[in-house]
Symmetry: C2
Subunit: 346 residues, 2 copies
């Protein structure tokens, strides 16, 4: 590469994950950009001044903020995750740097995960496994999802994928979103945020897929939990911070709701001392709901596709509205559906 080409070819700074975790297949061959890899803050500080683009491979990373004064020519930041909360620092929000995320990659996997949890409860799977371990034959009648009411808090692309699968089981699916409406193709009704408690009160199951933003922090607090039915079960696939975890623990301990399945927590990994691990009506999983086999390859491909767009001057996909803190969802847009969603039988 000549000196001229070097000057005109953009530099992408890849902020690695822990343990040197890098996006597979990056840089591609041939590549529309130069790549530099940063393992930690000192690398980022050294390399950031020349970077046009930053790819945050670990969506939890805070190093970009710490190195921010060195961002001389940075134009675009891509986060290899769906939730951008960890990177929404004021300097980035205020500036005109474009922020994109991994919207779409996790949709179907997380929807499957949500249904796996709902069905595990309905079909009493944990008890079946426990009885099996004791070699006890104990017939039980189980529940159906058919006709049950699911409320999805956060009708973005993930919430919509959950809704469509749930509807195929005959569930009645509504959402709580920014704007109340009854003409949404994926929900029987979308409640506005002001109706959150009323919507929760009617739910058999609640799935949280809302982005963590200043307005969603502890969205599910003592009053919202108190509004839920004693038979209600709550799934959190969003961020730990959208729930008042202490209030939830108290409600679960007192049996004021029937159960919770938590994939995300205020502090991760969840501390071994947390009572959540041992609560009989709680399922704890380690922030993995969307992480399918091959998901890292999908994340890398998605970034490289956007890089091609950027280099050739086409519009980027998945541009975050930095005031909102997420990519606004347009019902029924192609990116919100699986490519093959129109096939017969789905």
């Amino acid at each position: 590469m000549t000196a001229d080409a070097t000057q005109s070819t953009p530099l992408v700074l890849v902020v690695e994950g822990s343990g040197g975790d890098r996006p597979p297949g990056v840089p591609p061959e041939p590549s529309p950009a130069r790549f530099a890899f940063a393992a930690g803050l000192s690398d980022v500080r050294r390399l950031l001044p020349e970077a046009d683009v930053a790819l945050l491979w670990d969506f939890r990373s805070g190093v970009l903020r710490d190195a921010w004064p060195a961002a001389n020519r940075l134009r675009w930041v891509h986060i290899a995750g769906a939730g951008v909360d960890a990177t929404m620092f004021p300097e980035l929000v205020a500036g005109d740097i474009v922020l994109t995320n991994a919207r779409g990659v996790f949709d179907h996997g997380m929807a499957e995960y949500a249904l796996a949890l709902l069905l595990a409860w309905a079909k009493d799977v944990p008890r079946t496994l426990a009885l099996q371990a004791e070699r006890v034959w104990q017939h039980r009648r189980t529940d159906t999802l058919d006709g049950k009411r699911l409320v999805v808090v956060g009708p973005g692309s993930i919430g919509r994928a959950v809704a469509r699968l749930a509807a195929s089981f005959g569930m009645h699916v509504s959402a709580v979103g920014r704007r109340a409406r009854e003409d949404d193709p994926d929900f029987e009704r979308v409640h506005g945020g002001g109706d959150l408690r009323r919507a929760l009160a009617d739910a058999d199951y609640i799935v949280l897929t809302v982005p963590l933003t200043p307005s969603s922090r502890e969205l599910i607090g003592p009053d919202e939990i108190a509004a839920m039915a004693p038979t209600a079960r709550l799934v959190n696939l969003a961020r730990g911070g959208v729930i008042d975890e202490d209030a939830l623990i108290e409600a679960l301990a007192e049996g004021r709701i029937a159960g919770a399945a938590l994939d995300v927590f205020c502090d991760e990994p969840l501390d071994r001392a947390s009572p959540l691990w041992r609560m009989p009506n709680v399922i704890v999983s380690p922030h993995m709901s969307g992480d399918l086999l091959g998901y890292q390859e999908a994340l890398a491909r998605q970034f490289l596709d956007n890089l091609d767009r950027w280099v050739s001057g086409r519009p980027l996909r998945n541009v975050v509205d930095k005031r909102l803190g997420f990519v606004p969802s347009e019902a029924g847009t192609p990116s919100a559906r699986r490519p093959d969603a129109g096939r017969p039988g789905t």
Copy 2:
């Protein structure tokens, strides 16, 4: 009731389940028939001579055969179960007594159960629960059902319900049935019985919903198991007798297939000495896959609906073809679909 009315009003003999288990809401008020309840063989022998109809509330019951010489005026036998194998004795098969079953009641519940198992495997739910019990945070990547191949052995009303739910996850669903065809609305392809091994060889997941008949006994034997991929997982919701259980145990012990979820067994309850209880790649459940909360009420309503038909001379629903041993399935008939299957979003 006058003596004349008594003579013209049919008598339904209800053969109770164990522990005096009786159909709820029977007799109805008003009732189109007289009812007598039999707790055991001696009751059946005493009451059968006057009975026009027999309702076998426990589908496993063998007392009807033992009392058969006393069936003087019996015209119709209803079995409150989907599988009629326990009642297909030669005298009943040979005669012109009509046999009906509970086809339809279990469809959606069993389909949900099958998906609960497939998703438990795909999402590694048993391991998640085991790690939780140890308070261990261990991220894993999980599998998707999207694009995976499901083979349903037995494309009756239960198998079709499984297929439709599986298709909503993006699975490729084929079946093995009596007649090969490619124009079935619920399956990408239906293989004839002669192609069973070839179909099994292509499967990621196999769900057995085939009735137990002389021709399906040990349908899944050593050669069929050998045809399966080492990654294949097998779900049996049918009858234990459709699998050569010893051959399956051997294959599971040697890791020749990836796993099995068994709800039915050659002998039930499953003996505490069976190695199946403790195999790490096996999920054992106690013949409960279709038994939803309220299923007994649904079974009773279904019988009473047929009784109204019988008394008023209309055709009975769910008439078993006694040569086949099941109710022949017509693709897309109303009884094979949930009443609300046409609603938007399903």
